[in-house]
């Protein structure tokens, strides 16, 4: 008789009781993960994928009501286990790796102790012994000086190092099953790539069964053996990775696949006239952050100066979409703030035939011609203003439309971003994230700008919404001939949309190239490393060679 699957969920239904009545989180869910197998569980926010993880770990909130089904670990039913028994299972037989290592590690306890405590708990080791073992575990996750890392506090380690500690902790007791909850989303591109490689290696070595939860179908397709797509609490489709991508059976799956940005599917607006004069020209733009307040200086504080951007020069042509990519802290958002007139800078910003030498030099025509859309749909709209007021503000401010035509223009703007006209009367909190971002885009385009700065406009949105917003943006751009400075960390997305791509690293512009030339040898090594780190779905590109060590 074949061994039972490590994890087998069958007919599992879970409700949350709320004041407004029960809400179904999971409905008749069934899935199985065998030893040595990785099952990718893909869904958007609210799909129930995380609830499933909590159900497996028997860590349900007080208002959770299980309506039926079974959850078995290597054939043992978990639902009937007592709390004490579950405590013995957690961390020993089922471990979990969390999304963000900076919050899942206790900031006041040394990394080594957090790793060792699970060994003390489940393997009964003495603390000193456990620390020794912990060092070995850390070494296995590729940490160069494990003994030193053991003594550090979380804030003294990088994101990648912390996630390695979390992973080492998860593997510490040789569990049968590990749950991964988006373990790379909080990490930078290159680090994420290394963590994924580490995961692949450890899975090989230990033969652990893994349930890998993610919103990113592209990413899952690279590491999982099989994929389950969850939507609205139900598994809509399940099967081997290749099969799902090649022949999705459900519309939802198809939409999800279509929404995954793929460089080979170009969405860009028509290319700009290469001979046209530059619309925007940055010349040697530098930004320094920091500097102590007067009184602090008086009492001897040294100003801590951080370089936000160093000597950046680039140009944007009319109608062009220039992608700016880089990891967090690379200076790409600083650049956006400079151009939007939110950040003091040194150097010169040229716009059409005028030059501006500082933030305060930007005049009304410049401010009208250059608009910005921000990352967080929640933060970019004033919660106390109706959509109508938000959209009418640029119209009134720049005197673009006679008062009598205001309402009509607002309806047009809403239509342009595919929102119904009655949204004009709504407040931002009555809109979804995607809808809010559309309003923000509409507000930017309301000014009839020549250049729109998009600062990570899609990264807070669900995958499917992301794609819609990106398409909408390009469409508007094509229609109005507006240029766009598109700042993102998503390489695949930018390769879909941009005419040219600028790569920033630690405040410097390291590379600038036509999108078509992304994969040529002329690229800067850092660009190449970034491209190599990004999973390109599905197996369209050859699996890149694993990277080792920290990014340059």
């Amino acid at each position: 008789m074949a061994a039972p699957p490590v994890l087998e969920v069958a007919g599992y239904t879970l409700d949350y009781s709320t004041p407004a009545g029960p809400v179904t989180a999971l409905a008749d869910v069934g899935l199985a993960v065998a030893r040595g197998e990785t099952l990718g569980l893909v869904g958007e926010s609210g799909s129930g994928k995380t609830s499933l993880a909590w159900a497996v770990l028997r860590y349900l909130p007080a208002n959770a009501v299980e309506r039926g089904g079974s959850i078995r670990l290597s054939g043992e039913e978990l639902r009937t286990r007592t709390a004490a028994e579950i405590l013995e299972i957690r961390g020993r037989r089922i471990a979990m790796v969390f999304q963000d290592p900076s919050t899942s590690l206790n900031p006041t306890i040394r990394l080594g102790d957090q790793l060792a405590e699970v060994l003390v708990r489940h393997r009964g080791l003495a603390p000193a012994e456990a620390r020794g073992q912990g060092e070995a575990l850390l070494a296995r996750t590729g940490i160069a000086r494990p003994a030193e890392m053991m003594r550090r506090f979380p804030h003294e380690a990088s994101g990648g190092e912390k996630q390695r500690v979390v992973i080492a902790t998860a593997f510490a007791c040789n569990p049968e099953l590990i749950l991964f909850d988006e373990p790379t989303t909080a990490l930078d591109i290159l680090t994420a790539r290394q963590i994924l490689d580490l995961f692949a290696r450890l899975r090989e070595e230990t033969g652990v069964a893994a349930l890998y939860i993610s919103h990113d179908l592209g990413l899952v397709s690279r590491i999982a053996d099989r994929v389950a797509v969850i939507n609205g609490g139900r598994i809509v489709e399940e099967g081997p990775v290749a099969g799902i991508f090649r022949a999705p059976r459900r519309d939802y799956t198809r939409a999800l696949i279509a929404a995954v940005p793929r460089p080979d599917v170009r969405l860009a607006a028509p290319p700009p006239d290469p001979g046209a004069a530059a619309l925007l020209a940055l010349e040697g733009v530098s930004v320094r952050y920091g500097g102590a307040a007067f009184l602090s200086r008086l009492f001897g504080a040294r100003p801590a100066v951080v370089q936000g951007a160093r000597e950046v020069s680039l140009q944007v042509r009319p109608g062009e979409l220039l992608g700016v990519v880089g990891e967090s802290g690379s200076g790409k958002s600083t650049l956006a703030r400079v151009v939007a007139g939110l950040q003091e800078f040194e150097g010169r910003v040229g716009f059409r035939d005028r030059g501006y030498a500082g933030r305060r030099a930007f005049d009304r025509p410049y401010r009208r011609a250059v608009q910005i859309v921000f990352q967080h749909p929640d933060g970019s709209l004033n919660p106390r203003q109706r959509v109508r007021d938000i959209l009418s503000r640029p119209l009134k401010l720049y005197g673009l439309v006679p008062r009598a035509r205001l309402a009509g223009r607002i309806a047009e703007l809403l239509a342009a971003v595919r929102l119904p006209a009655e949204f004009a009367g709504r407040f931002p909190h009555q809109l979804s994230g995607g809808e809010k971002q559309r309003v923000a885009i509409a507000r930017a385009f309301a000014a009839e700008p020549d250049l729109v700065i998009c600062d990570e406009v899609t990264s807070s949105l669900d995958v499917s919404v992301q794609a819609q917003v990106a398409r909408l943006l390009v469409e508007l751009q094509a229609r109005t001939g507006t240029a766009c400075l598109f700042i993102t960390h998503d390489l695949n997305l930018v390769r879909q949309l941009a005419h040219r791509i600028a790569v920033m690293h630690r405040g410097e512009l390291v590379d600038l190239f036509d999108t078509a030339e992304a994969e040529t040898d002329a690229r800067h090594p850092y660009t190449r490393a970034l491209l190599a780190a990004v999973p390109v779905p599905p197996a369209a590109a050859a699996d890149p060679a694993p990277l080792t060590g920290e990014p340059p």
Partner: protein, 316 residues
Amino acid sequence: MTPAYLLRRLGAIVVVLVIVSLTVFGITMVLPGNAAVMILGEWATPEQLAALEERLGLDRPVWAQYFDWVGGILAGDWGTSLRLQLPVAQVVGDAIANSALLAVTALVAVTLVAIPLGMLAAIRRGTGADLGIGLVAYVGTAMPEFVTATLLLVFLAGPSVALFPAGGFVAPGESVAGFLAHVALPAGTLALVMTAHIARQVRSEMTDVLGSDYVRAARLKGLREWTVIRRHALPNSLAPAVAVISLDVGYLLGGIIVVEEIFAWPGLGRLLIYALENRDLPVIQAITLVLALVYALSNLLSDLVIAALDPRVRYA
């Protein structure tokens, strides 16, 4: 924590004290009536008043009085109490020591009671214990000290019960038991209000900590609940608790005013009321400065404690 940081903080405290000194001096200068009137009371004749004013130096220009005062403080001479005719440093010094005994006792009591209560409420969130603690906390913070003190006086020091003396002061040097008996009610009054406040804050911090990702991670490691609380939750909610306590020192410094008056505790608060009633300006000024200094130092101290508790906090 660098010496430069400490120096900077101390410098900031000096700035604060200068501002307080100017404010207080300004306020005391426009106080109606003067000490001579209050000293001689209703039995004074105008010439007696004039003589006394001259003797007290109240007839000199304001700016001269200010610079004399500041200069005196810097030279260690805090002036002479107008009413008591004693050096301010001596009068205030005795009172500081007594108030410190009261305040520290209250703080220790609060720390020992409020923090465990707040944590208990957070851990047993939504249970009867939580509700009970919450209710007591709300009632405690809603009672002015003089009401609380009056109730304690009636119920614990009334003639029929007389569990504690109704007031007075015994130095711990004379008799530790006597000191504890006398300090119980005034410190209890102060502690009650602060306990209520701090327990609520600790509960809220602890609730946040218990809901944090790392506590969840610790639980999902299979750690026992007690270990989770002791190792993971407790240390992290202590730092905010310390911050709250240090903020409450400001409250405490106000609270002693009423409590000392009611329980005959010979400290700064009662001295202040006496000085205010008698327009004893040097004493008022000195007490205000001392209280401001204590408050500023307690904030600094709490920052140091927080830095010790939380490795993330490093002052440079």
